[in-house]
Symmetry: C2
Subunit: 346 residues, 2 copies
């Protein structure tokens, strides 16, 4: 059976590898980081149902029996030779495959770039990822270690932001903010929790229920408006000035924790690898499918397939379905290739 | 090779059938309506790129060579007998398969139910589907046949509406409204075109560009607010009272055409068929996947799979990926079944 090279051991890569292995293919998964799991591995619980990220991840990858998952290796070069793909790795090894699946995921937007929000400057400004680490550690608080009395979430950090160069929506931050805000209220029922949003993009079937519960069950306060300024007070609280676009007035408030909902961006390395394979990127830096309607998993380069957030922001269920669809496309491609090879031989 | 019964010949069913056929399976597609294509077949152009729906549909289904697509038949009963599924059809025929794929899609929300908007009562109230039919026919106008001078789109008709019993978002109406409003402005550059929305859910990679272009290139006016009242004037124009929630004031305006963005609902027939197969529905009436994170295409009934909008609102690219993922799940299931059967035989 043919061999497939999967680049990226996040939930997309692991799901696809598992599906391919079950169909009898041999698979090598290449992961730049020193552990598999991608971005999901740094999350605590996942919307919409609050399942543990580790649980979801272990199910996705648990069925790998024969697949090699090589961590801590990067792809130095990859090219097509005589109809097969040869990847040279940073470890000095090389892998040869009949198809390549790019499942290189996303990078969280670097919140330092929104300097005006004070991330890395003020003590009590955090990202959604920082908060997940606190949830995992079982201790949510600002730098003082005290239980927070007031927490603010700012949606669309690095997303829908022409100034930063990202016009697109990151698709998962609203639901993540609603989840995290609800979790903070569950931990600290007396805390005031605010979400500052532009449009609440709770588009999936279970999302409106999450939003409804956040308001009615947990008492999260949703304010349509954009954060204008963040400053640090003498007491190290973060002083916010927010334009409430519904009330038509400016809100000034101090919070113990400011949480920035960093969006999804295309990792720079993806474009480098894609470039060597002749796969195009779009203006947002994500990989461009051959056909946005019918072939989201098929790239413009024959034998190179795409899965997950490397083609743009996606939720986890969507990423899993996308990875399975990519597997289907790979199996179809290899099947056709086999028919052609047999025909030639005859 | 095994035989698969696909229920529904919309884009999900056709995509899955095509993928299954390519893998050597024989497939029967059952369609209640008298033609294949589902809801997509009544659409003119599709967001985000404006591709013709017919083109997308023909690509999805064009590769069917050996698959039987039976139209105008409904499933009278379906049950599992000796590990296989037997469906009795309204035509008097029966089909036996080794797996069933439910791809029964959605029904457009019946706009008559929002009586206060006057659909079916006033002359110049239309749905998104009616407007698509006008686009296809090449003539967009109210009942008078005159070029419209002012057109209003109302988002979230039958969606996010507790009164009507649908709390969920239909996921595609915002993008459809932006597309349709832009198209109307392209046809009638001098017309005033308004979109009345609650939250603009332009979450996909290309959606913000569509929204940006609608505003800057076409001059569509987006107003955050809900339609309070619609009445018919003596001149047959529709008189609207809208609460502009950003400006904090009430807007009164007469329009030549009022377009209602009807959302997606679960077809009643889906629950009936699912019930016979032991597949659960959720509170919204859509089919419930076994695992919302990892197994959106797998139902709680072994051998029964799910694809497309029967599990909830989806865009077309998402539906296509979902159908391919369902195909992958079916192939895996049948492969495992074969191994078990062989093991038993030995």
């Amino acid at each position: 059976m043919e061999h497939i090279i999967v680049i990226g051991a996040g939930i997309a890569g692991l799901t696809a590898a598992s599906a391919l292995e079950k169909k009898g293919f041999s698979v090598t998964v290449l992961e730049k980081k020193d552990h598999p799991g991608g971005n999901v591995s740094s999350w605590d619980r996942l919307f919409p149902e609050g399942r543990q990220a580790g649980d979801v991840l272990s199910h996705a990858g648990s069925e790998l029996e024969k697949t090699d998952v090589l961590t801590g290796v990067s792809v130095e070069s990859v090219e097509k030779r005589d109809g097969r793909f040869v990847a040279e790795l940073s470890s000095g090894d090389s892998v040869t495959g009949d198809a390549v699946l790019l499942a290189s995921g996303f990078s969280l937007f670097d919140a330092h770039l929104k300097e005006e929000y004070g991330y890395g400057i003020y003590d009590n400004v955090f990202t959604n990822a920082d908060l997940e680490a606190m949830f995992s550690a079982g201790k949510v608080s600002g730098k003082s270690g005290q239980a927070p009395k007031r927490v603010a979430f700012v949606h669309c950090v690095g997303s829908r932001d022409e100034k930063i160069g990202n016009r697109y929506c990151s698709k998962v931050c609203c639901a993540t903010a609603v989840k995290q805000a609800s979790e903070v209220k569950q931990l600290y029922p007396d805390a005031e929790v605010f979400c500052f949003y532009m449009d609440l993009r709770m588009y999936d079937l279970a999302f409106e229920d999450m939003y409804f519960n956040a308001q009615t069950l947990y008492g999260v306060r949703f304010v349509r408006g954009r954060l204008c300024e963040a400053a640090e007070g003498i007491d190290k609280r973060v002083v916010l000035k927010v334009e409430d676009t519904l009330a038509g007035q400016t809100m000034n408030l101090s919070v113990d924790m400011l949480v920035l909902m960093s969006g999804m961006t295309a990792p720079s390395d993806t474009a480098r690898i894609a470039g060597m394979l002749g796969v195009k990127t779009n203006k947002e830096g994500f990989l461009q499918p051959e056909d946005v309607y019918l072939g989201r998993n098929i790239s413009s380069a024959p034998g190179v397939f795409l899965a997950g957030t490397c083609t743009g922001p996606k939720t986890i269920p969507e990423t899993v379905a996308d990875a399975r669809a990519a597997c289907e496309a790979i199996v179809a491609y290899l099947g056709e290739k086999r028919v052609k090879t047999t025909a030639k031989a005859i």
